[in-house]
């Protein structure tokens, strides 16, 4: 069923009785060419592009809970392409271009809103670093504008520019940055994959990975064994545990990241604002809630909930940046499990087991990467070759010392 203005009108006039479930609920088949473990944004996007770009339809996505119930439904929805390092820059640039056509491509409104992203700076040194980053973004073909203090004041008049600790000197403006409706991305890809014949199997937990003679043969699941030609692991914070079923250790430590939302307000914050020195960033959802977050809680965790010290720190940073936020009331907070790598960059690669592939290590930047990650992982699964923009996301780069440390904070899982 395609969505259109006409269909909406027709359904509205006939009591909305004609809508149907947008994906099937199939029983698992005994064999698939490709099994994707994990029905989150990245897994669903991978399945979609396998079918759409490579014509591979004998594909299953196995999800232990429900589709989109993990980090794709728990993130702060920011979409941007403001990376600096070769390897990251071209990948996120490609992903942003996919975002820009995504609602049309999927015939599903992902509410991609390019409202502009401003990264604030507070010193001459930071200004130089952001000027350099902006030039790298422009060289990549993306957009960046270096704003001075008055330039920032013109679009973000509500910030406290004269704060004592971090007076605002300016910002790097990325007009094509913005937000999207996180659940809709998962649902849109799920619907697109399902309509092309991919089996989306929910409540199906993978409990083992079958390997014979160094080659993957299938998976054991809570709904029985499934044979597979290739298996792709796309399970974010649970990557270490699923990889362990194949006897692998990954360079991943799972950490907790918190986010917060206020009660709904009238439009007040028109952009995405990032206050890096306070580890604070904020945007306003279309529903009106101020959505914001901070840094990791810094210790390994699978709890999907945070601790009070980081919640306090985030609130303090918010009050420092924009004192008006003190008038808003927090509606709720939550946490997600971040698959942190030692250099803060992801992994899209094959493993030492033939036919077994991993897509993980997105740290806390996975949402904007969903289209690009799905595209590149599908390319790798289908062709056996790395997709050029993701060719540096290798599993062995750590052993080779060829790190992609975007923030330059060193080889430690919780510092990115």
């Amino acid at each position: 069923m395609r969505y259109s203005g006409f269909r909406l009108l027709a359904q509205g006039l006939t009591g909305n009785r004609g809508w149907r479930p947008v994906w099937r609920d199939p029983e698992p088949k005994p064999h698939y060419d490709i099994v994707i473990v994990g029905g989150g944004g990245h897994g669903l996007a991978t399945a979609y592009y396998l079918a759409r770009e490579h014509g591979l339809r004998n594909v299953a996505v196995l999800e232990k809970g429900y589709l989109g119930g993990g980090n794709v439904g728990r993130n702060t929805t920011i979409v941007r392409a403001n990376y600096f390092l070769p390897g990251n820059s071209e990948f996120y640039s490609h992903s942003l271009k996919l975002w820009e056509g995504l609602s049309q491509e999927l015939n599903f409104n992902v509410m991609h809103s390019q409202r502009g992203l401003i990264n604030l700076f507070h010193s001459d040194g930071q200004r130089d670093a952001f000027a350099r980053r902006g030039n790298a973004m422009i060289n990549q073909g993306d957009d960046a504008i270096l704003l001075d203090r008055e330039g920032v004041r013109a679009i973000l008049p509500y910030l406290d520019f004269e704060q004592a600790r971090f007076p605002i000197h300016g910002g790097l403006y990325h007009p094509r940055g913005g937000t999207a409706r996180h659940d809709a991305v998962a649902w849109g890809y799920a619907r697109g994959a399902d309509s092309r014949g991919v089996d989306l199997i929910q409540n199906c937990e993978v409990t083992g990975i079958d390997i014979e003679g160094g080659r993957v043969r299938g998976v054991q699941t809570s709904r029985g064994p499934i044979r597979a030609g290739k298996v792709g692991i796309v399970v974010a914070g649970r990557s270490g545990q699923v990889a362990a079923m194949a006897g692998l250790r990954l360079p991943i430590e799972s950490h907790i990241l918190q986010a917060f939302v206020t009660e709904g307000l009238k439009p007040v914050i028109d952009h995405v604002v990032s206050f890096g020195m306070g580890h604070f960033y904020i945007s306003q959802s279309d529903k009106g809630g101020l959505v914001f977050g901070g840094d990791l809680d810094f210790h390994a965790s699978y709890a999907q909930r945070g601790n009070l010290p980081m919640a306090e720190h985030v609130m303090e940073a918010g009050m420092t940046l924009m004192p008006m936020i003190g008038k808003a009331r927090i509606l709720r907070s939550w946490g997600g499990i971040m698959d942190m790598t030692p250099d803060g960059s992801p992994i899209i690669d094959r493993t030492s087991v033939d036919g077994l592939y991993v897509n993980c290590g997105w740290c806390y930047g996975g949402f904007k990467a969903v289209p690009g990650s799905g595209w590149s992982f599908a390319h790798l699964l289908a062709t056996g070759r790395h997709h050029d923009p993701a060719a540096r996301f290798r599993l062995d780069r750590f052993a080779r010392g060829d790190l992609l440390d975007e923030e330059g904070t060193g080889s430690c899982h919780n510092l990115h």
Partner: protein
């Protein structure tokens, strides 16, 4: 979350700095092969359950601690001085 420092008693998590997995105590020797450094710096068991990691009582006595924790519940299960753990291992 509170951690009981063996020297100072139970204190708020804010007083402690987290370094990472307790594998950081087992630094490879100068003749160790590259794979040992890969294990030491990058690869992690990353358990969903009981784990051991290194914390420093940074805003207290400064001692390095090996803390046994549960990553699912945030429960602190055991705290030992890192110096005792190393002495016990030798």
């Amino acid at each position: 979350m509170r951690i009981t420092c063996p020297l100072c008693g139970a204190r708020d998590r804010r007083e402690f700095h987290y370094l990472g997995c307790a594998v950081y105590l087992d630094r490879p020797g100068p003749q160790a092969p590259p794979e040992a450094w890969e294990d030491y710096l990058h690869l992690r068991d990353n358990p969903a359950g009981e784990t051991r990691d290194l914390w420093q009582h940074a805003a207290g006595c400064g001692a390095w601690l090996v803390v046994g924790r549960n990553t699912l519940s945030h429960a602190v299960l055991s705290v030992r001085l890192a110096s005792d753990v190393r002495a016990g291992a030798q």
